[in-house]
Amino acid sequence: MSSIKIELRPEDVAKIKEICASFNNDPQELINVLHKCQEHFGYLPAEVQEVVSGELKVPVAKIYGVVTFYSFFTMTPKGKHPISICMGTACYVRGAEKVLDEFKKELGLQVGQTTGDGKFSLSSLRCVGACGLAPVVLVGDKTYGRVAPDDVKNILKEYE
């Protein structure tokens, strides 16, 4: 598991401590604390986990165990423009995988990764409830419907 080395600012540390305190520094609340931290930072870098460890008095190895067990938690920061490809049944049967492959090729990324410049990150999800538009791609808050592999280049161009 790789993560980018970051320096937490004093206000970041204060925020993590505030989150932990809002759960009474209760080790039983670890998952909820991690949820809130990820909501705030967008991901859970090692440094954040270490502060949580100190506050909840849970070994950082345990916290890392929880972070790597649940797929919701991530140690990789999302890109400025997070790209999600719907792999729900409707999108899948209408070729979402080929669209995903195209994104992987264009960006040189695997699912769960972020480009070196921090611009794009790639993830897949299950059903966004827009099956009529399948296959569906989300970039940030914007939705693209009936996406074909050939459209991928043009979509990415919009964000250059």
């Binding site: 598991m1 790789s2 993560s3 980018i4 080395k5 090692a46 440094e47 986990q49 270490e50 849970v58 070994p59 950082v60 190895a61 345990k62 916290i63 890392y64 165990g65 790597t68 067990f69």
Partner: protein, 592 residues
């Protein structure tokens, strides 16, 4: 007590409510095979993640098979432990576990003492689906100064995690990732060196497979022995003699002191010495420090900190350096016996035999894996030359003896060499929990009171309970003593010290449950605490059989002070026999 009645293999049995099927079966002589399960009786700790599923049994009326280690007995239950369905399921489970397990048993350090291997044999596995995968381990090598992790061999029994977290409260290891990627690892899957690991080795002691093993230093020792330009001397820790015999089929608790000396001589060591000598020396230094601090404290000197904590145990030293850096001036500054021995060997003894320290190789035989790390600490070397060059465990010594085609059973008893092989009973009992403080009391009492001690056995300091306390009457002064074995227990006493609530004058801590006799480098006891008890009894037997049983009466210690050190805690003694502690916050080194 509420009980339930049930039937196991057609036998009726009544057991306390809440007992597991596995334990109930054992009561009537049925041993259900287990793999991940482990019970540490004396600590009342059970590892039962129900992860391996080897212990499944058939319960009438239940759709699936039940893991007997984690399923509680219920009224009227009908259990069958070896039906065709059960046996087939166990074999299938085993085949799954083996399917991605490396097949390099021929050269695995655990081969012959591997619970997975034994279980595969017991279940009669002769073919493994997916033979072609995982022929050899491909796990990235994580070699720390003491412990090697090969997580391709991990079967996720999670015993190490239990030891590291629940028993030792070190928190270095945790289960991480999922599915095939699942492993037990330090935070961020860094190497052990960058974790909070204390190298106590208790994870190695309970690992059923070759996933966690000690770093083997016997090749280096062999090389030194073969080098004619080197004088090679060996020191043996007290706990080794009480356990080494087990590796040669002897009953636990058999003392093999004389045979061990004979074996070491046969292996080619130039001098066979005893760490017990250095243990006596430790008592002189640590005992004097205790009395000094105590007297100053009683005279109202507020800079004299009490309690004094023992500092013989390197796992313990690593632990307080990591977790209690604010208390690092509380433990005694005395080095451990291993390091005192090295310091004296490479100065006093090297001068005596006129050998340059660079040509003198000091090997230690230890029940311990943290000793490997300890002897590599920078402060324990002079110009890059270590005081103790190599430390090998009891298990490594046994393997070494076998390699040399020697059988411990057939060797005639031999005696340690003089002068660094001469010791008293006080040095021997360092091997069991409570022993160091008992040895210290024998000496400190006589020095403090000026009276002869009538009774040498301080039975109130003995035993295997995790935390013990006793008050020893020092001629009207009630000396309060605390003892902890196992780092989790040590943490409890340390937290009292930190909060200022501790009432003790002195505290002895050993990182391993039972003390050194239960060390991470000892023959594997597979959780059986009767073996630890037998080893403790052997240690006290050896103490009883010694003509001298008080460290300050050791004539060779007296001579050492006269000829070389001056007096205990002298400037020279401080220079050679004392140390200081560091807080090395291990930096996160993510990105691998």
């Amino acid at each position: 007590m509420e009980t339930v009645k049930l039937t196991i293999d057609n036998k009726e049995i009544e057991v306390p409510k809440g007992m597991t099927i596995h334990k109930a079966a054992r009561k009537i002589g049925i041993e259900i095979p287990v793999l991940c399960y482990m019970e540490l009786h004396d600590m009342q700790i059970e590892n039962k993640p129900a992860g391996c599923r080897i212990c499944v049994v058939e319960v009438q009326g239940r759709r699936n098979l039940a893991p007997s280690c984690a399923t509680k007995c219920e009224e009227g239950m009908v259990v069958k432990t070896h039906t065709t369905r059960v046996l087939n399921a166990r074999r299938t489970v085993m085949e799954f576990i083996l399917s991605d397990h490396p097949k390099d048993c021929l050269i695995c350090p655990k081969s012959g003492n591997c619970e997975l291997q034994s279980m595969a044999q017991q279940l009669g596995i002769r073919e493994i689906p997916g033979q072609e995968i995982a022929a050899m381990s491909t796990y990235r090598k994580d070699t720390s100064p003491s412990i090697i992790r090969d997580l391709d061999k991990c079967i996720m029994c999670r015993r190490c995690e239990m030891m590291c977290n629940e028993v030792q409260t070190v928190g270095a290891l945790s289960a991480v990732n999922r599915g095939f990627m699942a492993a037990v690892a330090p935070a961020f899957e860094q190497n052990l060196e960058h974790s909070t690991c204390t190298y106590c080795g208790q994870c190695v002691a309970v690992c059923p497979t070759g996933a966690l093993t000690e770093v083997n230093h016997t090749p280096e020792v062999l090389r030194a022995l073969a080098d004619p330009s080197k004088t090679v001397i060996v020191q043996t820790a007290p706990a080794v003699r009480a356990a080494l015999g087990e590796e040669f089929g002897m009953e636990p608790g058999t003392l093999v002191t004389g045979k061990m000396v004979a074996a070491l001589r046969a292996l080619g060591f130039d001098y066979v010495f005893d760490t017990d000598f250095a243990a006596d020396l430790t008592i002189m230094e640590e005992g004097t420090e205790l009395l000094d601090r105590l007297t100053r404290h009683l005279n109202g000197d507020t800079t004299a900190k009490l309690p004094i904590l023992t500092s013989c145990c390197p796992g313990w030293v690593n632990f307080f350096e990591e977790y209690f850096p604010d208390l690092k001036d509380v433990p005694s500054t005395a080095k451990s016996p291993q390091q005192m021995f090295g310091a004296i060997a490479k100065t006093y003894f090297a001068d005596k035999i006129k050998v340059d320290r660079k040509d003198l190789v000091v090997v230690s035989i230890m029940p311990c894996l943290a000793k490997k790390y300890e002897c590599q600490r920078e402060e324990f070397s002079t110009d890059g030359n270590r005081d103790v060059d190599f430390s090998i465990s009891t298990r490594e010594l046994a393997a070494f003896i076998k390699q040399a085609n020697l059988d411990l059973n057939n060797l005639a008893d031999d005696e340690f060499d003089s002068p660094l092989g001469e010791s008293t009973g006080a040095g021997v009992i360092f091997g069991a929990t409570g022993g160091v403080i008992e040895a210290a009391c024998r000496t400190a009492y006589e020095i403090y009171t000026g009276k002869k001690l009538e009774r040498l056995e301080f039975n109130e300091l003995r035993g295997l309970d995790g935390v013990r306390e006793a008050t020893i009457d020092f001629n009207g002064l009630p000396l309060k003593i605390g003892i902890a074995n196992g780092l989790g227990n040590a943490r409890k006493l340390l937290e009292e010290v930190r909060s200022g609530k501790s009432q003790f004058h002195a505290i002895e801590v050993m990182a391993c449950p039972g003390g050194c006799i239960g060390g991470g480098g000892q023959p594997l006891h597979h959780g059986n605490s009767d073996i630890i008890k037998a080893r403790a009894a052997a240690i006290y037997r050896e103490d009883n059989s010694k003509p001298l049983r008080k460290s300050h009466e050791n004539p060779f210690i007296i001579k050492l002070y006269e000829e070389f050190l001056g007096k205990p805690n002298s400037e020279k003694a401080h220079h050679l026999l004392h140390t200081h502690y560091f807080y090395n916050k291990k930096k996160v080194v993510v990105k691998q």
